[in-house]
């Protein structure tokens, strides 16, 4: 390994990130790191990726001003429209980058974990595009609540492997994908879906996702002649948030706010607020905030949104939290569903339940802004996959 991809923490002897994996995975992670360092600045690679992002995925995605919400909340609410990206969410940015890397590395198979199914869909889509076989590891519980995405993955020709261990959701899907990769690393590339996991994934995924913020920064300046006052994005593993934050980190007067899932309420213990309620520990190869008991056993997260249902978080978020550069708040299932309905009925956009957390947070954030201030929200995905689940939830509440 050239570096360990570490981010400063409050304890200088124990930075966030790193590569806490079995010795058996070190060779392939080193191989991925080297390929990433070799290709990321190479013109051929960059051209191929930017052509794909433009002509296959539909970049750049627009920013859209929310007329109704802006009036109601008393500031300019602008959405970055990753819901319009091919595949239906920001995951496509990362997957296209990593699939190209896998091709350069001459790997014969792609594997991926998925929670909400968006990353699985994006990987299955890339597999179809490049003609590479794909295996998707997905928790049995998530297969049930994200059925439309399961069907999409299968249509693209991917094999969906149901994970029945542990909490049967995202964290166990990652465990099983890591197990498979350990046994098949010679021929298989693991398309990691978020900015968590062992080095080099947090840096690599952030690199491919930062296009979101790079575009949004230019778009805001062009359209409004100024930068946003505040940027807000939902955080599960945290890839869409890092993607939009990254371009603004040096703009020290732009406030960055991550929104974690409060599930049924922080007080109930049934939530996924790793940064808000967890403490640093080692999970899935990196040292970062996670939900755990006193012994260090990892706790199960809970959220209505499968994509945020994760007890850990990317190490760069831990760094941004502890350094004070970003703040992290949380939003309950009920608040997210209400925001889902508001955006649908009042603005004509069906957001993913994950992204609905960021919309719901706008209500909490807006009172600190003036009428002319821009609140930029990353609408990380569209909500078609969630319609059944939301309708069922509403019926059960009625």
């Amino acid at each position: 390994m050239k570096t360990l991809g570490q981010f400063p923490s409050a304890d200088p002897s124990r930075p966030f990130g790193g590569c806490y994996v079995s010795e058996l995975l070190i060779p392939v992670l080193t191989e991925v790191e080297q390929a990433f360092l070799q290709y990321k600045e190479q013109p051929d690679f960059q051209n191929e990726l930017s052509t794909l992002l433009k002509e296959f995925a539909g970049r750049p995605t627009p920013i859209t001003e929310m007329k109704h919400l802006s009036k109601e909340l008393g500031c300019k609410i602008i959405l970055k429209r990753e819901d319009l990206l091919h595949g239906g969410a920001h995951k496509t940015n990362n997957v296209l980058g990593q699939a190209l890397l896998a091709k350069r590395m001459r790997k014969k198979e792609l594997i991926a974990e998925t929670g909400a199914g968006q990353h699985g869909v994006a990987t299955a889509m890339a597999g179809a595009l490049f003609g590479i076989p794909v295996k998707i590891f997905m928790g049995a519980k998530d297969i049930e609540r994200q059925h439309p995405n399961v069907e999409r993955m299968k249509l693209f020709g991917a094999e969906v492997i149901s994970v029945n261990s542990g909490s049967q959701s995202l964290k166990d899907a990652i465990n099983d994908a890591l197990r498979y990769w350990t046994a098949h690393s010679a021929t298989t590339y693991y398309v990691f879906g978020t900015v968590a996991g062992p080095h080099p994934f947090p840096s690599l995924v952030a690199h491919f996702q930062r296009v979101i913020g790079d575009e949004a920064r230019v778009q805001c300046l062009e359209r409004y002649g100024k930068l946003p006052h505040t940027i807000c994005a939902c955080v599960g593993g945290g890839s869409n948030a890092i993607g939009i934050f990254k371009a603004f980190i040096d703009d020290s007067d732009v406030r960055l706010i991550g929104v974690e899932p409060a599930g049924e309420g922080i007080a109930t213990g049934k939530h996924g607020a790793a940064l808000g309620e967890g403490r640093p520990g080692s999970l899935h190869g990196s040292y970062s905030y996670c939900l755990q008991d006193a012994d260090g056993q990892i706790l199960e997260a809970q959220s209505i949104s499968a994509g945020l249902d994760y007890p850990g978080v990317g190490p760069e978020h831990s760094f941004l939290k502890d350094s004070g550069r970003a703040q992290y708040i949380s939003v309950t299932d009920d608040q997210a569903v209400a925001a889902f309905l508001t955006l649908t009925k009042k603005e004509g956009i069906i957001p993913a339940l994950e992204s609905a957390h960021a919309i719901a947070a706008a209500e909490k954030i807006a009172p600190t802004l003036t009428k002319e201030d821009i609140l930029l929200i990353n609408l990380s995905g569209r909500g078609d996959k969630d319609i059944d689940h939301v309708l069922r939830t509403l019926r059960n509440h009625a």
Binding site: Y20, E23, I26, S165, R179, T182, G285, D295, I298
Partner: protein, 263 residues
């Protein structure tokens, strides 16, 4: 400097070591202690004991299920240390731990190794801690005379093998195939032989082979490839809580130490 207990066991035994593995607290504290006693009485030359962890990506489904049973029964890390002390009252064979890093981290690295020493532990293998991150654990292990054990496999480069050999003590855990614990397909004998021969160039430590050892033939193949011992986990854990079956499997596997030509 104390003598290496694994090397001592090897010279006393005059044949490769039989090292059964079980998860502490599986399926509960009382039964788990009985199982460990059964393993000792069935000819264990050393014990490899796992601390249950909620998210064990280096282990296969059998060990993961064992971890979950132990945790569901309410086992805490304090209980694991208490069990180790109790095990020390009925056996003096080497005891190695297999743990995941977060359990060490949350207890405090220094305290963890202190507690290991106090509970009669000889070695600790941290399943998800590669060389790059091991310095803090190494100094704590050294301070408390606990042998740090490392995994090596077919994909471990000579450069890493050399570094690992310089810091490892007790024994080296030779991974017989790439993957997680518990697969039962036939051993890649030639690769294992090559790995052991390559590793031998760098170290005099006992080389103990684990992952997927589930039949006397596997044991024989490992010994034939030059192993100083075998670690058997999933094959035994699968029989829990049937102690008669555990005893039978243990005896059967040890037949693998006897060359079929001589018997």
């Amino acid at each position: 400097m104390h003598k290496n207990p694994y090397a001592l066991a090897l010279s006393k035994k005059k044949r490769p070591l039989f090292v059964p593995f079980t998860v502490l607290g599986d399926p509960d504290k009382k039964t788990s202690l009985e199982i460990v006693r059964t393993l000792v009485e069935s000819g264990a030359d050393a014990l490899e004991l796992g601390f249950p962890f909620s998210d064990p990506p280096a282990d296969g489904p059998v060990i993961q299920a064992a971890d979950l049973r132990a945790l569901t029964s309410g086992i805490r890390i304090n209980d694991c240390f208490a069990m180790l002390k109790e095990i020390r009252t009925f056996t003096d064979i080497p005891i190695g731990l297999l743990v995941y890093y977060n359990l060490i981290l949350q207890r405090g690295v220094e305290k963890f190794y202190h507690d290991c020493k106090n509970s009669g532990v000889d070695s600790v293998l941290v399943a998800d801690l590669p060389l790059e991150h091991s310095s803090e654990v190494l100094s704590a292990a050294k301070a408390h005379s606990i042998a740090p054990v490392f995994l090596v496999s077919d994909v471990t480069s000579d450069e890493r093998l050399q570094k690992i050999s310089q810091i490892a003590q007790g024994y080296l855990y030779i991974v017989s195939y790439l993957g997680v614990t518990g697969a039962t397909s036939a051993q890649p004998h030639e690769k294992l032989h090559a790995l052991i021969t390559r590793t031998r160039k760098f170290t005099d430590l006992p080389l103990i082979v684990g992952f997927g050892i589930s039949t006397p033939e596997h044991v024989r193949a490992a010994v034939g490839a030059g192993a100083d011992g075998v670690i058997v986990g999933s094959r035994i854990v699968r029989e829990i809580p049937d102690q008669k079956a555990i005893q039978e499997i243990s005896c059967e596997l040890q037949h693998g130490f006897v060359s079929p030509n001589l018997s």
